[in-house]
């Protein structure tokens, strides 16, 4: 299999964006849902652990990209000019706050004010971290396929789409009615991912014939569109089970994963640049 896809970076970016979006979506639900639909006790613990695992796995995957992983801490040396250093430092903060949020949800699921506060804080840190992650690629003037607003739209779009879809599906499996804001989050994510694709595939060199692109369109965009329609039509309820949620999430994720493979592969397969 071609190593142009930069799999460690694909795992890192998709999973960490998924986790950050999940924390944001879960906090939104907890803040805006009615009392009977707010997650409590075991259900809150399960939901919080699931989105935290995504963030944690993504963060660990980043180390797999480094040629000398045991010296990873040297990557903190250049915050003055390196967006990679800034990203690494911000990820430490985000992960730290996310662990506190998880512990708070796990140990004291009834402390809703504290859980909400830590949830907002972790999500805010995550969104700032995403800006640094985006700048790593956006700053590279030699690569038009990365130095485009599509990078911003795509990264934030994945975050919202995957995070809000995950929480909608968790709530569906738990037979809870999602807060109304979740459909706006999912809808915005869908729009951002769509806009990113439209912009990126106008740029010379973008491989519009790749099966990866068409799988992203089919699995993620069509899949999320159907999920949004089910949610708006209030059809995601009594007959929706855990297996359906897991399967649906796997399909959505596979589409974003394929899209990210193409994002890296389209540039890296052109090496050397000169």
């Amino acid at each position: 299999m071609s190593n142009h896809y930069e799999f460690p970076l694909v795992f890192f970016t998709t999973f960490s964006q998924w986790g950050i979006g999940g924390i944001l979506a879960l906090t939104c639900h907890q803040a805006f849902a009615g009392a009977e639909n707010v997650l409590q006790g075991k259900s809150l613990r399960i939901a919080a652990v699931l989105v935290w695992i995504a963030l944690c796995f993504g963060t660990l995957a980043s180390v797999a990209h480094i040629g000398s992983p045991f010296w990873f801490y040297r990557g903190f040396n250049n915050p003055g000019s390196s967006w990679l250093t800034r990203e690494a430092l911000l990820f430490m903060v985000t992960n730290g706050v996310a662990v506190l949020w998880l512990l708070s949800c796990w140990v004291t699921p009834t402390a809703s004010r504290r859980n909400l506060l830590l949830g907002w804080l972790a999500a805010a840190c995550g969104l700032v971290t995403l800006a640094a992650m985006t700048m790593i690629y956006y700053q590279l003037k030699i690569h038009p396929l990365w130095r485009t607003p599509a990078t911003w739209l795509g990264f934030y779009g994945t975050t919202l789409l995957m995070g809000f879809a995950t929480v909608l599906l968790i709530l569906g499996a738990l037979k809870k009615t999602p807060a109304g804001i979740l459909k706006w989050g999912l809808g915005l994510g869908w729009l951002l991912v769509s806009a990113a694709l439209i912009i990126r595939f106008q740029i010379p060199g973008a491989d519009a014939t790749s099966y990866l692109l068409w799988w992203q369109i089919l699995a993620t965009l069509a899949g999320a569109g159907i999920l949004l329609a089910l949610h708006v039509g209030r059809r995601l309820g009594s007959n929706w089970g855990v297996a359906a949620s897991v399967g649906y999430m796997a399909v959505l994720f596979s589409g974003e994963f394929a899209g990210r493979m193409l994002y890296y592969g389209n540039v890296m397969s052109r090496a050397p640049w000169f």
């Binding site: 990209h65 480094i66 040629g67 000398s68 992983p69 010296w71 990873f72 040297r74 990557g75 903190f76 040396n77 250049n78 000019s81 390196s82 967006w83 990679l84 250093t85 690494a88 790593i136 700053q139 590279l140 003037k141 030699i142 690569h143 090496a271 050397p272 640049w273 000169f274």
Partner: protein
């Protein structure tokens, strides 16, 4: 303006013998698969049917490698040579992604990246870089880049069109290139 050393690359005189590549490898004892200087060959349906450009690190005025390296391994000497503190490299390969000329090279065995240092030790001793010294056609020369630019003009637009040379405004490469049409 601070001093800046650079290379003069004359494509008219380069016959693609690759002596510069091997001299560099021999001098710097780079591992298998790691070439700091490479000779690129172009074959086109044009009068310039076969052309060669020898290139290594261009010791840019605004080195993109230095800007992006998270470990801060790159620095610019007073004479403009961009050097790397190889011991501190973590092998993230950001410098490779950022360099318009794809100059840094990743060694998967060592797990680190390295690049041309313009034979800085030799220059400090008053010697020429090994690649320059070895070129039998004198197609590769070395000196103060401002002096080289006074003597030779680079047709950047032509180089971009014919050979896909990157936009020089990205990093300000310290090179003068005379293409075959000149």
């Amino acid at each position: 303006m601070a001093k800046q050393y650079g290379f003069y690359i004359n494509m008219e005189d380069c016959n693609g013998c690759r002596t510069c590549m091997m001299a560099c490898k021999s001098e710097n004892r780079t591992p298998s698969g790691v070439l700091w200087r490479k000779v690129r060959e172009f074959n086109e349906d044009l009068p310039t049917a076969q052309s060669f450009i020898t290139m290594s690190c261009n010791h840019c005025a605004d080195p993109q490698c230095m800007r992006v390296c998270p470990a801060g391994t790159y620095s610019k000497r007073d004479d403009g040579i961009v050097i790397q503190n190889h011991d501190d490299c973590i092998g993230c390969q950001m410098c490779i992604m950022a360099c318009p000329y794809h100059a840094p090279v990743f060694d998967p065995v060592e797990g680190k990246t390295s690049k041309c240092n313009m034979c800085a030790d030799r220059i400090d001793q008053g010697l020429m870089p090994r690649c320059v010294e070895s070129c039998p056609a004198a197609a590769l020369q070395f000196g103060d880049i401002e002096e080289l630019r006074k003597r030779h003009a680079t047709g950047w637009v032509e180089l971009e069109a014919l050979y896909g040379m990157p936009d020089p405004t990205i990093s300000g490469p310290s090179i003068v290139v005379v293409s075959r049409e000149k």
